[in-house]
């Protein structure tokens, strides 16, 4: 319909979409674990959002809309090929163990690994609410489930994560489990200043 020239809507949409890329990457990273697979996923989601821009209503929550596209893409890819998801999981574990950045605080490394032990749905709910800044209602819309379901997933995820960190229940590739919870407490204390 529009003849060649980009409409003002397209320009505004594009601008907002570009601003959301860092958030899409962060969300994808927590879903996939593996950084390369995560960027592929984030790029796919970005393109899908761009192609579907006609169905987006300007002024509504674009962040929630793009996150929904991204997670649907994640799950449909996972369904399409179980074997591939196994490979992704292995790649994720390799990458996580291979993270050898001396600058990276130990606590974060431990947290990433403990997160990967959670079921996808729990990890997703916890990230959306606990890190993505979404309300339970928004998270429910993104995940296509009831608000109560999100709440219970988040609380189960919190408990499981806590337990995993206390027990060192994730695979730490030979090295001792260490005091993950202790370093997280110390680090959180430092970050949030004096309580």
């Amino acid at each position: 319909m529009s003849s060649g020239a980009a409409s003002t809507d397209d320009v505004a949409f594009r601008q907002e979409l570009v601003g959301l890329i860092p958030h899409l990457r962060a969300f994808a990273r927590t879903l996939c674990g593996d950084a390369t697979a995560a960027d592929d996923l984030a790029q796919d989601a970005m393109l899908k959002a761009w192609d579907a821009r006609a169905s987006y209503q300007m002024g509504t929550n674009m962040k929630a809309w793009t996150f929904m596209i991204l997670r649907n893409q994640f799950y449909s890819e996972k369904r399409r090929s179980w074997r591939q998801s196994q490979l992704d999981q292995e790649a994720a574990e390799r990458t996580l163990v291979a993270v050898d950045d001396p600058e990276a605080p130990v606590a974060l490394d431990e947290l990433r690994m403990a997160l990967l032990t959670l079921p996808d749905e729990q990890r997703e709910a916890l990230i959306l609410v606990g890190a993505g800044g979404f309300a339970y209602e928004e998270a429910a819309e993104i995940c296509g489930c009831a608000v109560g379901t999100v709440k219970s997933r988040v609380s189960r995820a919190r408990r499981a994560l806590h337990a995993a960190l206390e027990a060192g229940a994730y695979d730490r590739d030979g090295s001792p489990a260490g005091d993950a919870m202790g370093s997280i407490l110390a680090d959180a204390d430092r970050l949030s200043g004096a309580r």
């Binding site: 860092p22 958030h23 962060a26 970005m46 606990g130 806590h162 407490l185 680090d187």
Partner: protein
């Protein structure tokens, strides 16, 4: 909630149940702080060039194709 707090105020500080509850809350808070830090760390990374390249190509494809 408030009543509970008042009631516990009189109790000796080493009440193990209170301690365990506070401790659990503290730990959940700490995990929350780290979770946000982990997420924000990726958000603050510079966006790889491919993202904008892909978007530009998609835009051109639309303009050229129609």
């Amino acid at each position: 909630m408030i009543e509970q707090k008042d009631a516990s105020r009189g109790r000796p500080p080493d009440s193990q149940e209170d301690y365990a509850l506070d401790e659990a809350r503290l730990r959940q808070q700490a995990i929350g702080v780290k979770l946000r830090q982990m997420f924000d760390q990726v958000v603050s990374e510079p966006v790889p060039d491919d993202f904008l390249d892909i978007l530009r190509r998609a835009d051109e494809r639309k303009k050229g194709g129609s």
